[in-house]
């Protein structure tokens, strides 16, 4: 820990200064400025040439300079820190710098961090009181800066989001967050925020004691300056009271119970795959109640252990993937995209109802057509149920539900379809019916409307056959449940126009979804990769692996649920149908194991019938032992180790992904990772399927596949693309 001797700090920090480009330093000088209003100093944050304020090292140095200037200016009685950005206070540290620190190795990172920690400690120790005036994102480093202030005032606007999301990037708060937050609001509440990385609104922050006052955004500057002047007149630092203790914490020894519960919960949820929250917990446990100085050191050391770890790198990689989607338009062609105001959905089943609800939730008018009114009522009831659960969770008001439901108009005719900017078809998966429906749509819609199909397994090109202008037909494949699953596969049929692609891509983003463009081929990306995975699960069951063993192994691997649970979730009948389509398209390597055909029964179709591979009772599930009774199963052989079980399932996915790439179905390698993470929840800490494959090494995967090919059947035969990579010693990303 550095002594807070001005000279030492100046020297230490100047060692940084030399490493930063002069123009960067100059830009920081313009971005962060100090002004005086009577006895009140005001630091204004307004990052040059950027929408967001970020805490780069250069900006941290600039802040330190200003803090020193404030300290030296004895005429000042208070300091207010405020942002000029419309919806950001400080978005956090500069992530590229976290990456850089990671590449520098642990010790250097820790050292650098400790120096920068001193900037906020300097702020905290200023002789005059300080106030953070927060509107918009106040995350990570921004939160930590405001924690070092004496007072915090926040707006009640929805864009104000306060939190410490570091664990989502595989690290922990490193500039005092693990120290100052528990001191301010106690253990229980701060663990909740730090371990989950979630963010909260101004009013919730007020309730937690994280901010002192909430004001409307229009009044923030006025109220902050009034308060700043008051503070300046008194010129007294705030005496920090001990944080408000939670209920359990108050019991003698209660804090150990809190730590214990938190740890158990984390392990259960993460299966030990995510080290960052555990580390944060460890740091807080070790330092809570101790001195700030040693606490900060422990924090910095822990940070340096995590930064640059594979988990952190992968999570940061996903963050960037997400950012890249924001800039992507789905096509390189320059096309004008009309925003969707009116939409129509064909079919009021589970998918249709879910899609209509999603549209309505985002303020889009929807016409929902089905053949019979009871079916329409069912679709509306699906939408209502989703909204109502938001009302129950207090995420929505009743009147908002009524407004949203009014956006969905049911119809058995095509009334209103002529006004739709986009139609999404979600009728039964039957090519002839879909073709007929599209022929009807061709007549009732405006020629400019995009006609999308939510098919999961049929060819978009075939579905478009009877449409005059086939360029407006496109796939928009949502995943079930629509409101929760973030992925949308945007399918480019043979004649689909760039305009249709761009419209659906943009629309999906406006719905809060992650779109991935895929060319029209059976199973697209997600189902095609999941097909062999789920099929292999069936083979493994026949090879004597138990249901719970297998699901446990894949959960441990990092999947949100095991393959058997996933089969139940998807529906055994649906899985069977998709499997047949894939077999028809890709032949021998996708030949279904003799399993689903045997066990499927009309009231044994998975979760929807409460009976599948598992039995479902309320929230509990148990293995449905009856399902395996009539089936001939081998005894699990000794060489079928847990490791082999996982490899058989995951390597088949890698192999299939390689085929997809060689067929040029996606625009870039990372699209597959995006699709698998957002469509199946594929272990984010592994960075996605192909990042995972690269980390294992393609040559190793190919050699294992060759062995499996010999031992278990030709479905394991590595595809040419994979072999090529192995020969050239390349990875998917480095090819």
């Amino acid at each position: 820990m550095l002594e807070l001797n001005k000279e030492t700090i100046r020297q230490e920090v100047n060692s940084f200064r030399a490493q930063i480009k002069p123009e960067t330093l100059a830009s920081s000088e313009k971005s962060i400025t100090l002004s005086r209003q009577g006895k009140m100093g005001v630091i204004t944050l307004d990052e040059q040439n950027s929408k967001a304020n970020k805490l780069s090292t250069s900006n941290m140095l600039r802040l330190l300079d200003l803090f020193m200037e404030v300290e030296e200016d004895t005429s000042l009685g208070s300091l207010v820190i405020i942002s000029k950005k419309p919806s950001i206070f400080i978005a956090g540290a500069d992530i590229s710098e976290i990456e850089f620190l990671g590449s520098q190795g642990g010790d250097k990172a820790g050292e650098a961090l400790m120096k920068l920690q001193a900037v906020f400690t300097y702020l905290e120790n200023l002789p005059i009181p300080s106030l953070a005036a927060i509107h918009g994102a106040c995350l990570g480093g921004g939160m930590e800066l405001s924690l070092a202030c004496d007072y915090r005032m926040a707006t009640d606007a929805p864009e104000t989001r306060i939190g410490l999301p570091e664990v989502m990037l595989g690290v922990i708060p490193g500039w005092g967050g693990t120290q100052r937050m528990p001191r301010l609001i106690g253990l229980e509440k701060s663990l909740d925020l730090i371990l989950s990385g979630r963010h909260i609104t101004g009013p919730s922050a007020l309730k937690m004691g994280l901010v002192d006052r909430v004001v409307p955004k229009e009044l923030l500057e006025q109220k902050a300056f009034e308060f700043g002047q008051e503070l300046a007149a008194k010129r007294t630092k705030r005496i920090r009271e001990a944080g408000k203790l939670g209920l359990v914490e108050k019991i003698p020894g209660g804090k150990y119970i809190v730590f214990d519960i938190a740890r158990k919960k984390l392990l259960e949820k993460s299966k030990g795959n995510y080290p960052a929250p555990l580390k944060a917990l460890e740091v807080i446990k070790k330092t809570y109640g101790g001195s700030l100085e040693s606490g900060l050191r422990t924090e910095a050391e822990a940070f340096s252990e995590l930064v640059g770890s594979p988990e952190s790198k992968n999570l940061i990689g996903i963050f960037y993937l997400n950012e890249s989607v924001k800039k992507d338009r789905g096509t390189d062609a320059e096309v004008a995209v009309k925003p969707v105001k009116h939409a129509a959905v064909l079919g009021a089943g589970v998918m249709g109802g879910g899609i209509a609800q999603l549209f309505a939730a985002k303020g889009v008018h929807v016409r929902m057509k089905d053949i019979q009114w009871p079916a329409i009522a069912k679709g509306l009831n699906t939408a209502y149920g989703l909204f109502k659960s938001r009302v129950k969770k207090r995420k929505m008001k009743q009147f908002e539900l009524e407004n949203a439901m009014a956006l969905i108009g049911g119809t058995t005719s095509y009334s209103g379809f002529g006004q739709a900017d986009i139609v999404v078809e979600a009728v039964v998966e039957d090519l002839e019916i879909k073709k007929k429906v599209f022929a009807e749509l061709d007549k009732v819609t405006s020629p400019n409307a995009v006609l999308a199909t939510n098919t999961s397994s049929l060819s978009v090109t075939h579905i478009a056959e009877k449409v005059k202008d086939k360029s407006r037909v496109v796939g928009m494949h949502f995943f079930n449940p629509v409101d929760k699953m973030p992925l949308v596969e945007v399918i480019r049929g043979k004649e689909t126009s760039d305009q249709a692609i761009a419209t659906v891509f943009q629309f999906a983003k406006s719905l809060g979804k992650t779109p991935v463009v895929v060319k029209d081929a059976p199973g697209f990306v997600v189902n095609r990769i999941l097909g062999p995975y789920l099929n292999e699960a069936a083979f493994l069951l026949l090879d004597g692996v138990e249901v719970e063993e297998m699901d446990g192994l894949m959960e441990k691997f990092g999947m949100p649920m095991g393959p058997c649970a996933l089969l139940d979730e998807v529906g055994l009948d649906v899985a069977q149908k998709v499997a047949k389509i894939l077999y028809g398209a890709f032949g021998e390597r996708m030949k279904p194991a003799n399993f689903l055909d045997t066990i499927i029964d009309k009231d044994r179709l998975g979760k929807k019938t409460k009976k599948g591979i598992y039995l479902y009772e309320g929230k509990e599930k148990s293995v449905n032992s009856a399902i395996l009774e009539g089936i001939e199963r081998k005894k699990r052989s000794a060489d079928l180790t847990d490791e082999v079980v996982v490899k058989r399932m995951t390597y088949l996915m890698v192999n299939e992904a390689a085929s997809i790439l060689s067929e040029d179905l996606v625009r870039r390698v990372s699209d597959i990772d995006l699709a698998m993470i957002f469509g199946t929840g594929f272990a984010p800490f592994r960075g996605g399927l192909l990042r995972y494959a690269d980390s294992v090494g393609i040559a190793k995967i190919v050699s294992d596949l060759e062995i499996f090919n010999h031992n278990y059947g030709m479905r394991f035969q590595p595809c040419d693309h994979l072999r090529r990579l192995a020969v050239k010693d390349q990875g998917f990303y480095s090819a």
Binding site: K341, L380, K388, A406, G410, Q419
Partner: protein
Amino acid sequence: MKVWQAKEQKSKVAIVGGTRTPFAKAGTDLKKTSAVHLGVTVAREVLAQAEIGDDSVDEVVFGNAGTPANAANIARVIALRAGLSQATPAYTVHRNCASAMEAVAQGCLKIGAGLGDTMLVGGTESMSNMPLLFGEELTELFATLNFAKSPTKKLQKISGFRPQWLKPIVAIMEGLTDPISGLNMGQTGELLARDFQISRETQDKFALRSHQRAVAAQKEGRFKDEIFPVVTEPDFAKAVEQDVGPRDGQSLEALAKLNPFFDKRNGTITPGNACPITDGAVALLMMSEAKAKSEGREILGTISAYVFTGCDPSRMGMGPIYSTSEVLKATGLALKDFDLVELNEAFSAQVIANQMAFASKKYCMEKLGWDKEIGELKDELLNVNGGAVALGHPVGATGGRLVLTCLLEMKRRNLRRGLATLCIGGGQGAAFVLERAE
């Protein structure tokens, strides 16, 4: 008030679209569905069918009699929820049983005068959701409690409470009672039955015919173009697709078993030969004829004249003859010039009384200043698909149904001229002349 006539207007006023919800006796299928939702359902559908842009409606007017406490200007709530832009003005009109008729009249006035060329009008009513009100004492207690400063003071006030204060006032009963005559609507009907010596049996026969005609219309699918289903609140789990009221197999015997409701000893009006209190909504799209033609829209009909008139509140059921008389005088038309008549069935006795009065030289001379009887209102042209006795009478919406039903039946039969008329609680009548091009 003078009769409004299209020929004096800048522009003819056309009706280019319309639909209604199924009507359901209060307390049945639509009992938990709000008047707002009923109104939104039909408004949204009429706009969708017409493929009207969000900002292409000049104004929205809805009739509503029992104002919901949470939607005081219900027309504006309906306009926005139905998807119209925020720039669309909207207001609610109240003329008791003719509230939706008044909305149509507003359309005539404004489009006729050239103030706008597209208006969404209609009416909505949830009589199931009329509130119970606190009595004066309890209201007073709540008010003083609000002002009582200390808990002791509050307790003092509360101790003054008497259990009988809890007896609620039923808003719907208050609403259906005319404060001028002190009579509720059924009692005014009883007066007409006495005036015109209309027997219980005659009334029951009329009621039976209303059911038979409505059932036949249902069976033959004649309501298909008229009714748009409602998916019910609160949970949107059920679709109501048909009127609930019409009874297949209704019989004179069954009707005869019912007891008089309003005058238990000497009365003749029973729940069987009166209209039930009902939930439902109607919406109509009105346009200047010029605009409708330029857009190539189908014109269901135009309104060539209308009038509202006043009469004796204790005999409010005679409203139709008063208003029709004025319209005929002003337009020079005779009753026989009408191919079809919708006359609202508040009570069987009241419709029969009007029919008798139209044919009575004495009544027409004494009350209406004619020198002979107005003419015969033929059974076979009157309420051909049944009326409110079978279908129900959602007060704020009925006027719109009369216009819509009449126009759609004129289209079906390819007729030229229709009359939609009704009696209005408090002693008024409305009559609208509807025309259809060949």
